[in-house]
Subunit: 141 residues, 2 copies
Amino acid sequence: MEVCITSLLRDKGFKVTPQRLAIYNMLSSTRSHPNAEMIFNELQAMYPTMSLATVYKTMEILKEIGLVQVLNAGEDSFRYDAVMTNHPHVRCTECGKVEDVYDVNIDAFVNEVSQGTKYQIMGQQFYFHGICPNCQRKNSN
Amino acid sequence: MEVCITSLLRDKGFKVTPQRLAIYNMLSSTRSHPNAEMIFNELQAMYPTMSLATVYKTMEILKEIGLVQVLNAGEDSFRYDAVMTNHPHVRCTECGKVEDVYDVNIDAFVNEVSQGTKYQIMGQQFYFHGICPNCQRKNSN
DNA sequence: GTTTCTGCAAAAGGTTTGCATATAC
DNA sequence: GTATATGCAAACCTTTTGCAGAAAC
């Protein structure tokens, strides 16, 4: 996996830096879909000199070389996901967390919509919102 | 239609003002999914004293009383749609316009995902991106 | 007459940019 | 040694907020 990002960066003329590796490693080992500030905070302990600007600049590059996708689930900030397969996301409107939706076959739906428009479709993003199991339990107490 | 917004506003304790009517009228008679600034600019001619803040405050109320939905198709600003039925949106990555996707039945897909998560699903938003017919034509010249 | 709204200006929050120093190669 | 990256601070852009005067009811 690190081989992957290292060679991808080099191939496109970008340099391989500890900051870039740390950011990508953190992102690819979480399922929390963090935004820039969450990534920055998470890395503070190990990389105390890292700046928010570096996180943003790195996300720009990772997006460009196809290692991350950018999410907006209706919030003020963008979130990032290192899982590049097509999958819907669901956001809990109470606690705010964003989770992956697995075990759903979106291909048929994507095909249907692709054929329903005259657009040359390059990608898509599906967002659900609702109340997560945890918050449902809290509500019923 | 105006009857609808008028009584909906009054019922919830909001006052009926020319600005609110103008904003809702403009939004419900376009398919361009404008953001706040586009709405503001569009209304400048007829309502020269209207402020951007009023547009934002009005959208907040219209969202609350269920007359508009808020979109984010991966851009920096939010767009607004007075069509409240469930339908996907598609954004052209070249010219930036956002259009509705019609004639697609999303119910089966929504049901499948709803059942695939443990969330209590309240709503969803589907965004496609690609190249619109116009821009495809321009590109091939 | 009371309550809510508008419009302005200022503030806030997320993201981008410019630049000097530091690091990768 | 050269080219690119980092980190800081300032700038930027969208959206929100506070408040005095205005409009709705």
